[in-house]
Symmetry: D3
Subunit: 287 residues, 6 copies
């Protein structure tokens, strides 16, 4: 009986956070190991459904680089990155679309559905959600690598109002009728900005940002937007973290209140962040 | 960190119950020690607000016998019961109304408000909620003791739709323009019936129904409606429990799925009942 | 037949006023003898219901000083006023709440219901309608005497939209969780202001404001807001009228178009004021 | 002051009737002298507007025989009736339409507008309101004289919901694309039936139905539907009254509760009927 | 088969125009031969219904001068114009109303109904749509000739929302209770202005505006608002076209995007203008 | 000018069909050459957008067998069919999903978007649209080949209400969490049935059903449901047509009014079928 009462006690400890986020939109960039280990995938689907039930509107954004690379190799295509961006020719963009939209997106949708709230998976073409153009990086031609020019939030608003959880694959719809592969972290930031989300959470494989990446004791728990921009300008953010930090900045500058970088391999990292006073990972905010 | 993750785990254990009761109406008859001990009052207000936040529609029904008796004594009125019913002359009904509506009802409303969801306290006159007539018991004249003739649910529906938690004091509005004191357990059963509630919960000072009230080991955890009616007919229910059992039967016969009699002095008894698989108290159901 | 046709004629004379006030909110401060004489109570309930039927939204605000004093005496409490404010210790505030909310408010609700439109009685705690703080008057401690810090109109708006007539008992909900006794005239003014009412009417026992209270021939039928403020500043308003005049000023300054002080002992004073060109009492307006 | 208070008293006497008819639809067949004397026209427009303000939905149906005859004579057309039905050739139907729709209908609309509620005048073509076919009477060809085959109530429902008072000229829209002149009393009965009106009122120049039309003392104040049908079958209703009585029967058989035949030259006959207990004219009801 | 496929091809050519005008309001001034030749009347009714079906909101405005003159002659009234304005005494205004509202308006309504969308015909009195005053032209008294002082769009908005096609006869409702005959071209311009229409189309008997009316080769296909005003000021517009040009200017100045003057005797002139890239007639736009 | 007027004439010829299908749902099974030839793809997207603009609700259902086979070969998987059903192991189902959802579905979505109405592409997981189970065919194990057990229409209803054109890839969501490849013709029939569609159209590469497939002159233009079932039972339908015919039967039995099998290589076959009286292909109806 004692154990049961402690359970009830813990439920009530979540109440202040449930109040705070009730009716708010939270964009979750889902990636890394949390998207590959079966046990973690189940846990995250549960957490997302619980968030929806207590009145939060989660919007999931995902990429899927490792799986894309795996299929490219099977199909005999060279996997090549320049400045962290995948070189994407016309065959490759088809593979990217097929893997992200046809495989990964639907796996996430299916998992969420099986935990009790219906989700709908979409990508940039659907409702013309993510309008994109070719990304120009000096005179290197990366092929169908794009950047966001506009987010049309109507389809997200409609799905949320219809009580679905939207799951977004980060393929952009070019005005030229072509598809573009866009960094999922960047898209997440743009979507959070367009939705005036309350919070954006990046699930990664590390615990957050570090003062010194080599020193595990130097984890930064809170960071101001200005400091964050300074670190980026001074190249004090390692390459893997750069798009996430850029996504945070895009979101915060558009009025999103808080951005978080969490270790998605911690079970229930989402719930811990949203429903307990135990801050985990790195939180970036404007003030 | 371990402790924190256990907290998250416990939150997710509530998910199946949150799903089950989402959008459902739960009538809570609030009474006994849970209404008198300050610590319990706070806990119950928290539990009710949490229920509201996760999408349940709680409707609170309360009496307040001991406080009425206390004021009657202060005012020099004799406190007298016949068959468990308070003899209520014209001065007494004024005292009952003042104590239930003016004091106890507003204390509950205030407590709920301070935990984060707005409530509105009403009694039988408001929106003509509880229509009553004088209760006839043989040839004994109990004065302004009444019974329900009709529940007008419009005011409850409106308050629920407007996102308030209704708190009901069990004074009936006589068609003769007089007020009637009605047993709160009975009113709770009638309201649950009129609202087609999913569940009715009676908070009391004992753990539930017993096969043999003297034998604390004989607590009945589950009971069928038919058995329950049999026990009542055979007078195997003690006087204090009788109106609660009658309230359960009224509700179940009208289609309410489950009725519960719980010990409200167990902290978070409501949450334990609704959100965990640890059944406490006695559950009565039709099948 | 002649008499009947005159009746019809009189109905049509009300038409211009029905047009003028259609869909408008009128706050009625109900008090004095009109709240104590049974014949007048019936008449006023009829008038309020008629107003509702022809499309006006009446909101009733009441106090109940004499009845409070009567109960305080029965309970052996000293009745004491300082500067017209009732000294209210912790026992007294309970008595005030019980009498105003549990007795007087419900009597009004019941009377209105019996004349054909449903009303709902609320006080400051309900929907957190009247937020209050302790009133500081020099270094005298009056106990639980408060003043309004905020009106949360949501519950009134909801009740009006749901076609109920709200009846408000003037108990304030302190942010400290305590209840406060607030002058009903002041609350009426604040509620009219918060609702952007079209009109506020104070029902009293005298015919209105006088140039010279001793000279019954000096009744003021119209007064500008500026003059009214001047009179108050110059202490040309007697103590009983002061809170009513202050209530008028609060309302008018917030944009309420007209404030009226009427003699509620004149049968159908409300209808005469609203539906005929026979101006009675004192009308205060900004311009 | 005494006179003023009597006025207020009279207003409150209307309350029970205002309650009874609130939200109900009342079809008023407007005709006879009440449509020709300027003073009566003003009075009736006022009465209709007052009904609308207190929550009744009046629907006005009118003909205009005398004015049609006047124009036909000016235009050199023979005015000829067979069995009380106007012989209507193709030129005549144009004149009927022009007079009823272009002149009389708009006069009524204009009068109502000037008393404070907006009205919209329509005829059978508008929204295909009155579908008609040629009326066959033995082998006499009356030309464009029709009878109702269907009422499409959508346009009336929309106008009522949009807070307009509909005014209907009784021209039918033939499925053959032609217009048909239909007896206004009959159309009124059909419209009341189609709208499930609560009441239909025929304004005429006589006081009602008589046992013996020559004996002014034999006015029938109440009549059952069955008796009414009997009188009609037995030809105990004079020709002028026949279509009105038929309209009453059509309406009552479709569920309209009460049908009235009133003398429209009595000022405020409508108000007297609806808002006082002084029954005037003849009332026909099913039971 | 070839012919059929060409048909399909033509349907798809209309798509860009259907997109452009979807949900837009188009005011159509209907007059001239197109209102008198039976074949053209059918064609125009078809075109209007087609516009409604593909999501455009057409509003029809019409006069009817020739038919009015015809009836005036039959009735022995002198037909007299001063500066293109009909001298309209009290008898004449009745004739104008009867012909426009009772005859022409209902013919249009009936035709549209028979092609598959319901229409409702109204004039200035209905919903007080066209408020007018007497037109003063020097010291000549033209009688009941008026000009627009206000358009009350509520009745049009309601009819459009209720899925009807409004058809407006251009009789104005004087604030003095009188009716006024107003030039239909002017009313069309005022209604387009009040509705913030997207387009106004005048159907006439000529192909549009000419540089030199005698030179049929000098048709102006596009004209800027400024040039249009200049032409009017310089009296380079002939009398028949003047009110149409004034109507165009009124509409364009209020924000209507384009005004067109078309030859309504060209079959399907409306469809050609709205759904093909073949500009016909004269288009006037601000920029 | 002549040519232009013919265009207008053709637009009006479509009016009766626009009326008939306004607000109706039409399910279009898109497949065959019409899905592979770029010119045809553009034409069909245009036709679908035009249907949406004139008030029809098209729902697109597609498969994509040839493209799946092509990718399977590239990936070195054996392409094998049994009884016309693709043997689908766990690797193959991933390929099917990727090709249908990630490639073909989004191409269709993108094409429709570029013609002016927004579409959203979904598959069986989204909103749990297509619930499926493993298809049992004797003791042959075809792997992840499924059949429909339930259609959850909510997501389709929501997308239609939100003004999107839904495009459905026919992957089923197994209750076991696995994905199933389902024949697109069958799914189209089930969706038409679940939506109570008015019409279902199968776009194929042949002109319709033939009495004798070898005899091109034996095309069946109309067929009753009963005859259709007879032909199927008697195996008079060739294998390629069998699932289409089964889809027709499923739809018709559920109340869909008409099923069509058309040659999608005829340009604008959809428009010809829906908007002209030139019936093409085979129409099957119940009566």
């Amino acid at each position: 009986m004692q154990a049961v009462m402690e359970k009830a006690q813990i439920l009530t400890e979540a109440l202040p956070y449930i109040k705070e986020y009730h009716g708010k939109t939270v964009v979750i960039k889902y990636g890394g190991a949390a998207m590959q280990r079966k046990d973690l995938k189940e846990v995250i689907a549960t957490d997302i459904v619980l968030m929806k039930y207590v009145g939060i509107n989660p919007v999931i954004v995902h990429g899927g680089g490792p799986e894309v690379s795996r299929y490219m190799k099977i199909l005999g295509k060279e996997v090549k990155f320049i400045n962290g961006l995948r070189v994407t020719d016309s065959e490759a963009i088809d593979i990217v679309k097929m893997v992200l939209i046809g495989k990964i997106n639907k796996e996430i949708v299916s998992l969420i559905n099986h935990h009790g709230k219906l989700s709908v998976g979409i990508s940039g073409d659907d409702g013309n959600l993510i309008v994109a153009k070719k990304k120009q990086i000096g005179d290197v031609d990366l092929g169908y690598v794009g950047e966001v020019t506009k987010i049309n939030r109507k389809v997200l608003d409609n799905l949320i109002n219809d009580d679905f959880i939207p799951v977004v694959a980060t393929i952009g719809a070019g005005e030229d009728g072509m598809s573009y592969n866009i960094n999922a972290d960047k898209v997440a930031g743009e979507i959070a900005a367009a939705l005036n989300a309350d919070k954006i959470i990046f699930l990664t494989d590390v615990d957050g940002l570090y003062e010194d990446f080599e020193d595990k004791g130097s984890l930064i728990s809170e960071l101001k937007l200005a400091n964050c921009e300074y670190k980026l300008a001074e190249k004090k953010v390692n390459q893997g973290m750069t798009p996430k930090v850029e996504g945070c900045i895009t979101a915060l500058k558009a009025g999103v209140k808080r951005a978080h970088i969490l270790n998605g391999t911690i079970p229930h990292a989402l719930l811990l962040e949203v429903f307990t006073d135990k801050g985990i990972g790195t939180m970036i905010s404007e003030t």
